[in-house]
Amino acid sequence: MTHGHEHPHSHDHDEHSDVPSDAALRVKALESLLVEKGLVDPAALDAIIETYERKIGPRNGAKIVARAWTDPAFKQRLLDDATAAIAEMGFVGRQGEHMVAVENTPKVHNMVVCTLCSCYPWPVLGLPPVWYKSEPYRSRAVINPRGVLREFGLDLDTDVEVRVWDSTSEIRYLVLPERPAGTEGLSEEQLADLVTRDSMIGAEKLKPAGKGARQ
């Protein structure tokens, strides 16, 4: 399916037909019931959707990573107390109340999962992608992380330690990816452009400058 952001609320139909899906009909009926009962205000619903479709997303996390790459004191604060360091940059909110940043190095690769549900650091990465919430990832990330990473195109050397973080509490994890080679002359803003969402989950490594593809 292709869904442009220009029409965020117009996709109430099944992929291959013009008939509204059962879920779409049920949600529509539920919303109208709750409006009729005075329990929700449609304008507030619009504002919530607007927040997560347009204001909060992985661009926030990319800015944190770029700053950590260019400002050693900030990086230290991020690793010591990520909640405070990330709040310094103004990224606070639901599902990011308690943050921990984990650093990738040539010998350590970190990867984040929530096997029990779909916990994810919303204020810095936005809402999670479908694959992160899917059964294949939730089941296999803890028992075969290298296999999952290989499917993602990342074949780690056997001497690299893989650290998986299963988000079982309200602590949310952000992976600080390795700064790619060949980026020495780039500004903080240019660096942020290189940082992908999946690199901050630990699902991929960033490619050297000029070869990266932003998600």
Binding site: L30, P136, I143
Partner: protein, 218 residues
């Protein structure tokens, strides 16, 4: 509870499929439901632990058949009925029952930022953490019927405390309206072969955040 939601370590679900240029929501109804759920949360009738449990009690076959947001829909309806914000008949009919009182005021658009603000689980209460980083700990072999955040794959396993997070709301009681009971929360590292046996790859470890009452000294 030993539910289908607790899927860490299961086989058979196939490869992980990533979608290029994925939208935030895949259908308008997903976005509306996401928003409805947060707006309803503003009534303060439930907490995040109870919301998770409401999805965990979806029967396993249904859980696997449903999409992610269909589970949210099922969980939300369960909770709204449980606390009396709506009745089952109203959900079925799509209209308020005759004589139902109109609630006021609903979450106003200008209050949305407040609702989406922080809702920390850390509590400033006096506790004496039993463990410290470096300590070896063993998880209990426990199988509660209610909500818990100790996954099956990490029960009766030995690991090392790597970080102390402070005292956090205890989900196992909070989910069931039995109080927050904040207790020390630790990040515990388990080696891959402790969790999965000798066939596990070397140099793999899984970290879980675990409450003190899940743990005993190893």
């Amino acid at each position: 509870m030993n539910g289908i939601h607790d899927m860490g370590g299961m086989h058979g679900f196939g490869p992980v499929e990533r979608e290029a240029n994925e939208p935030v929501f895949h259908a308008g109804w997903e976005a509306r439901l996401f928003a409805v759920r947060h707006a309803m949360g503003a009534w303060g009738k439930w907490n995040i632990d109870g919301s998770r449990y409401a999805r965990e009690i979806i029967p396993p076959a249904e859980y696997l058949r449903m999409s992610y947001y269909e589970r949210w829909l099922a969980g939300l309806i369960t909770q709204m009925i449980e606390v009396g914000l709506v009745t089952r008949e109203e959900v079925q009919n799509g209209h308020p029952s005759p004589g139902a009182k109109k609630a006021t005021p609903a979450l106003a658009p200008d209050a949305v930022d407040r609702v989406l603000a922080r809702s920390p689980s850390l509590r400033d209460v006096p506790v004496s953490p039993r463990f410290k980083p470096g300590d070896r700990v063993r998880t209990h072999n426990m199988n509660p019927e209610g909500h818990t955040r100790l996954p099956r794959y990490a029960r009766a396993k030995t690991g090392t405390v790597v970080r102390y997070h402070g005292a956090h709301v205890f989900p196992d009681t909070s989910a069931h309206g039995r109080g927050e009971n904040p207790q020390p929360l630790y990040c515990v590292r388990f080696e891959g072969n402790e969790l999965w046996g000798d066939a596990a790859c070397a140099r793999e470890a899984v970290h879980l955040d675990l409450w003190e009452s899940y743990l005993e000294p190893a």
